[in-house]
Symmetry: C2
Subunit: 571 residues, 2 copies
């Protein structure tokens, strides 16, 4: 049996554009003699459409697109993810064959944790369902259905499905793709079924979908795999007979099958014009990226998609010569090309010659435009204007923040005048403890590395340098001690614990929801733990006003970590 897995990058809300993408890949799958072609979860609307799902006309438009796609499904069975409006709303997979929507499977397990809010929108489906394609029983599942061990997948296998399809939109976090592949491989082995996992790819606001579609046989061997972070049409031949034969030997499931099988819906039987001659099972198998390369690729795709899907042609960022803005410049150039990136250096009297020179060298090596706008005079202008009101008070964080805000104003003025999107350069460690200026360095449209802890920032710059024999990054950027350069001889470690300690505390406090005692029990210094917890808590108001950025860790700020601003818990 020949499958096609269309790993598509739809745009949320662009129903016409997504429909065109689906139809194009449907045609290509038919040309490849596929019998079944899969499209990702909610491929018609993009994922997650959020409260667009509360509009009746949006759901009607999505349905109309599915009907038009179904008209193309001749001689092939297409399984297409869309939001179904019926007695209630469902996260559904349309089974299109013989020119019409023949059946609809409704997702059973609706995730409502982490970044997910599916119980806000959807009713649960009633349970497992099977269609017959060219005489083969095929089970249907949508995303979360396969993450929960048990039904509907197990029910469908017990009811005779030799092949189980899963269409997904599974948001990226570092390392998740490998774990997902291992988990689904185990499901295939447990149920003695071939599993085809067809995933969405692309960036949507703070989420990146990594693609990484694959087919795994009943012995848990991955026999075909799409590349990560790119659109793909994966063609794979599968041997469902072998899965069936294995069940004659391994009869552990027989007692359960008798009870469950009658509960599974039989949604119809279809014949196709696809390849039925016995081809060797398998398809192309893409390699997986290494750990840091994978994160870097996610950032590049997330940035490219945010910029282009928002309709921007060009981005601008402040280049200080520090490690954070270096990483963002690298990502921007890799995502968009150097001709679509403008960097701005905005030196103050506290900017060192070293960072100023590094910024210039980097910009030159990257081939991007570099503007220079020194901020000394505006700094003085504010000092004079506020002189009377501030009389008798020492300079403090106020004046530091004003420098950052002048820079923010200048970047936004360039954005307004030329229609450029401002990329901000703050990392997760800073954002966690509020070591940034609201409306200053955090001002902009997209915060590329906001979910990258500082130590990861270093790893990613090194990773990018390693891959490129002509690395554009001067060594001094990597080796210099981090500084905000907002007062003379300032260094991050004057205000914060060393990043090794800070990042370890943040990992436990933010990503793992641990408390003070548990963090200290991990060997982290009590004084640092107390300070960091307090800083994280009181900085929530700042984070709420920061631009969106790409989730790469297990818990990003924002929809992933929802904490009150007014919060006296303290830990």
């Amino acid at each position: 049996m020949r499958l096609a897995l269309a790993q598509l990058n739809p745009t949320v809300g662009d129903i016409a554009g997504n429909e065109a993408k689906v139809r194009e890949h449907l045609a290509r799958a038919r040309e490849a003699d596929a019998q079944i072609v899969l499209f990702p979860e909610l491929a018609i609307t993009g994922y997650p459409p959020e409260d667009l799902l509360l509009k009746e006309h949006f759901l009607a438009d999505a349905r109309a697109a599915v009907e038009r796609i179904a008209a193309d499904a001749q001689g092939i069975v297409a399984v297409v993810g869309f939001p179904e409006r019926a007695d209630d709303a469902y996260n559904a997979a349309a089974v299109c064959a013989d020119g019409a929507v023949q059946a609809i499977y409704r997702k059973v397990n609706l995730p409502n944790y982490g970044v997910f809010d599916e119980l806000r929108y959807f009713q649960r489906g009633p349970g497992g369902a099977i269609v017959e394609v060219d005489g083969v029983k095929v089970g249907l599942t949508v995303c979360e259905d396969i993450w929960v061990p048990g039904p509907p997948l197990t029910d469908e296998a017990l009811a005779g499905a030799r092949l189980v399809l899963n269409i997904s939109a599974s948001p990226y976090q570092a390392g998740k793709g490998r774990l997902r592949e291992q988990m689904i491989a185990q499901r295939a082995r447990d149920s003695l079924a071939v599993v085809a996992f067809c995933a969405l790819v692309g960036g949507q606001d703070e989420l990146v979908f990594d693609g990484h579609s694959f087919v795994v046989d009943h012995e848990r061997d991955v026999i075909a795999r799409s590349p990560q972070f790119a659109e793909d049409l994966l063609i794979c031949d599968v041997d469902v007979a072998a899965a069936g034969a294995a069940r004659l030997r391994d009869t552990r499931a027989r007692p359960a099958a008798r009870e469950v099988a009658p509960e599974v819906a039989q949604l119809g039987s279809f014949t196709t014009a696809g390849a039925s001659d016995a081809a060797a099972p398998g398809g192309s198998v893409a390699d997986l990226l290494d750990e840091d390369a994978e994160v870097y690729a996610a950032l590049v795709l997330g940035t490219r998609d945010y910029v282009t899907k928002s309709g921007f042609e060009h981005v601008v960022l402040g280049l200080s010569g520090g490690i954070d803005s270096t990483l963002v410049a690298l990502i921007a150039v890799d995502a968009l090309g150097p001709e679509r990136v403008t960097c701005v250096t905005m030196p103050s009297p506290y900017s060192s010659q070293g960072t100023r020179d590094d910024a210039k060298v980097l910009a030159q090596n990257l081939g991007v435009e570099l503007l220079e706008l020194p901020i000394g005079e505006p700094m003085q202008g504010y000092d004079e204007l506020l002189g009377e009101v501030f009389a008798g008070r020492e300079p403090d964080i106020t004046e530091e923040n004003l420098q950052a805000r002048i820079r923010g104003n200048l970047l936004m003025a360039l954005s307004n005048k030329f229609g450029w999107l401002v990329l901000t350069t703050g990392n997760k460690s800073e954002m966690s403890v509020g070591y940034s200026t609201l409306y200053g360095d955090s001002a902009g449209g997209f915060a590329v590395i906001k979910d990258c802890p500082k130590l990861l920032v270093y790893r990613l710059v090194r990773e990018r340098a390693r891959r490129d024999p002509q690395s554009p990054v001067p060594d001094s950027i990597i080796t210099r001690a981090p500084s905000a350069e907002l007062r003379p001889d300032q260094r991050d470690e004057d205000s914060l614990p060393p990043y090794e300690v800070l990042d370890a505390i943040l990992q436990g406090y933010v990503e793992e929801d641990l408390g003070r005692e548990q963090l200290i029990a991990r060997g982290l210094p009590a004084e640092d733990v107390d300070r960091v917890i307090r800083l994280v808590d009181i900085s929530e108001y700042k984070r709420r006003q920061n631009p969106p950025g790409i989730k790469v860790t297990s818990k990003a700020f924002g929809r992933d970590r929802r904490v009150p601003i007014v919060n006296r818990y303290g830990g």
Copy 2:
């Protein structure tokens, strides 16, 4: 039977403070000879605690507080809302009597729409439950349980409960209190039970809880009511015998009772030292505020609580002489007193004499400090710095935004230097269509009127003036045509439809999720509809970076309306 309803204003996360509040009111209820005292939903943690609920130690701390409270429950039954950690996590009501937690009821209906995310945190309870207090069967429910017609409330009544308790944290929106009271009154009539509704009060981030606790008898008469927007201990005697007697006459429920009654958990039987001598039923009945006065009171409470619960002593805001900043100044003074409010006028060459004078008169009448910081010079400074980069281009929105951003910088500098919270003054109509400057007039800590459409802003200022024979508001503020004053002779209606049209479109598009065709069918001009839809959609990125503010409509931006930023749907 004598009830006490403790309408408390807890602070999220302040378990020790909330515990103290509960114990104080428990003692007062005992002194008043109450047999049962009610505390709101999640009174121990405040509502909503959001992802604090994902911390094991937070749940353990909440439990410990409930145990200490229970030790005080001697001669009285206390029902206290808290998050229970057991085999799973539950939104629960602890029944405390004889010095210990004797029983726990678990909320059955978990809201997961609008501003609610309870399925993110909690498992559903198994169903209705009853306790016996001094021989009277009393049903238990938590908030949403009473909004869904049917179980658990109906089950409890069918199983013999003459009195049903509901502890709630029900967020305010305009007019909701009246509807809630009518709905609950109907539940009481339908089930022939007395219902005691004990609600949380106070502001938490973007939500205000309006209090408005009450007791309604089985004939749907409200026999006691707490004031809105203030803490209260409501004492009410109820006649449960009358509810019981009514069931001998009205026997419609008998067939259902036989089936359901055995399913309802019987959680124990307690005797109290409270008043058992027959008092006339009822308690004090507070009047309800009129429509606009109610919204105004919500804004005052929401502002006061955000400021004080965040630990601020003082607020600052830009006073332009326009209607929006006038309303915010009024609210700030009513919330905090004039000595805790500083206003700043920041005139530019485009500021009219009229607005400048009005700002001064208003500040004087309110008795607040007024600072003047003219922005002409910084404007010139930016123009010079950017002159080269902008060479050959006409002035446009860039220069307008720079003015607003200079003002934002100045307010933030005052905030940084003196530790004041900046109140922003944008209204919902502006925020909807992006008629504001990011990091400019939207810069600040709390956006008091962000959910108030412009027409409501006018109504609220008039309402405040009406109540006050010495109204501090010059008439010209109310009668002048709205303008941002960022270029010569600018008026809002140059860029936007008249507010009557704009607000009507926004009501349909934002609050009701209507599409283009439906709005036009309402008689709204097609051209305006298209333009406003587009502006609302492309302004989502701005709103994401705006400060929190108080929800007063049926759908506020933020956790209430969750839409993608990248969104090509267009309607």
